[in-house]
Subunit: 215 residues, 2 copies
């Protein structure tokens, strides 16, 4: 696919996937964009417009075949494949991610963790070993790693991001509280918990003055 797609559209795809999965779980096999729109709280025209970026899925007068669309979005998202992940920073968030079995169910397989803390090195969490950060480069060079998860303090995150990019890593899931500068062929997805907490604080203090254009 050569057409460029806006990140705003892309970020809605997992949401479509989630709602379609719920429909399937409830035995619903077909749905109009209007009905889907009501459930998802977005306009029907936005749904049609979003999905049209990726192909022709709906049928006039019939709507969407739920299972077909679900499978198509799965392929579009690339979650029909398997990924090897490494976590750097075996603290609370890192350990929580490894313990969250849903990721593995979806093909995201954690194969190693790394830390600087001697008390953590050598431990295993759900069968995943925590290695010394000093062995990271060797590990990345000798294993097939698709995604590195950064769950370490921000100063170290910047340093480590340079090392992993030099080792050829192309995907970073960044939980560290910093925006990473990366070359164009490396993609980053951020989870900034503190930013999210602050956004909630704003919302709480300004309930009536927000245009909710999130989706």
């Amino acid at each position: 696919m050569d057409k460029k797609i806006s990140l705003a559209v892309i970020k809605r795809l997992p949401r479509y996937y989630r709602y379609l999965g719920d429909l399937l779980d409830n035995g619903i096999t077909r749905i109009s964009s209007k009905d889907l729109s009501k459930r998802m709280n977005v306009t029907a025209s936005q749904i049609r417009q979003d999905l049209n970026n990726f192909g022709c899925f709906g049928q006039q007068g019939y709507g969407y075949n739920v299972e077909l669309l679900y499978d198509e979005i799965k392929k579009i998202l690339g979650i029909n494949k398997q990924y090897n992940l490494v976590i750097i920073g075996a603290g609370n968030i890192g350990q929580a991610l490894v313990n969250y079995i849903n990721f593995q169910k979806r093909g995201f397989n954690f194969i190693a963790m790394f830390d600087v803390n001697p008390r953590l090195i050598g431990m295993t969490i759900r069968g995943i070993e925590i290695y010394d950060i000093d062995t990271l480069e060797d590990f990345l060079k000798t294993h097939n790693v698709d995604i590195v998860v950064l769950t370490l303090p921000k100063n170290n995150a910047v340093k480590v991001s340079k090392i992993i990019i030099d080792c050829g890593i192309k995907g970073i899931w960044n939980f560290s509280h910093v925006d990473l500068k990366t070359p164009p062929n490396v993609v980053v997805e951020n989870i900034h918990l503190t930013d999210s907490m602050m956004t909630l604080s704003y919302k709480l203090n300004n309930k009536d003055c927000i245009i909710d254009d999130e989706y």
Copy 2:
């Protein structure tokens, strides 16, 4: 403030706050929107436009006073106040949040956790006790709770969200993999980890076809 502000703008505020904090840490006391724009990878006109929503902070030919702007954004975000938080779901993510001391530093104080698991009930994590979910309503009615954090499976999250809203809770930080339907006077901020992971998967598979309009 009566003017309605787009959520897209609001979500950029914590990022401004973060960058201004870094500038302060580095002893930089004043900055032009142009220099800030370079650091943050957004246009200078976007910065001016965003901040103008909240008042008049810059000065032609001088730029922004970093400390002043930092303090103003702090107030705008409402993070100059203290908040009491309760976590429902004392699993891995819930525990990780309690252990993350940065939240407390910023005035977000966890005062209790709740769970259904008898093995967890009665335990304390960083001094925060895990209570039986059956005592939740009583707790909420007798304590001043500003924000409830939902870190439990999606079906239970929907059920629990109704209970806490009935108890008068106005702010929900939702880590459960579901969109909650709430009345207009209740605000929700979502962290959907699985959605984020899928977005990363898409990015990884379509590096050259993304318009990066995230900020």
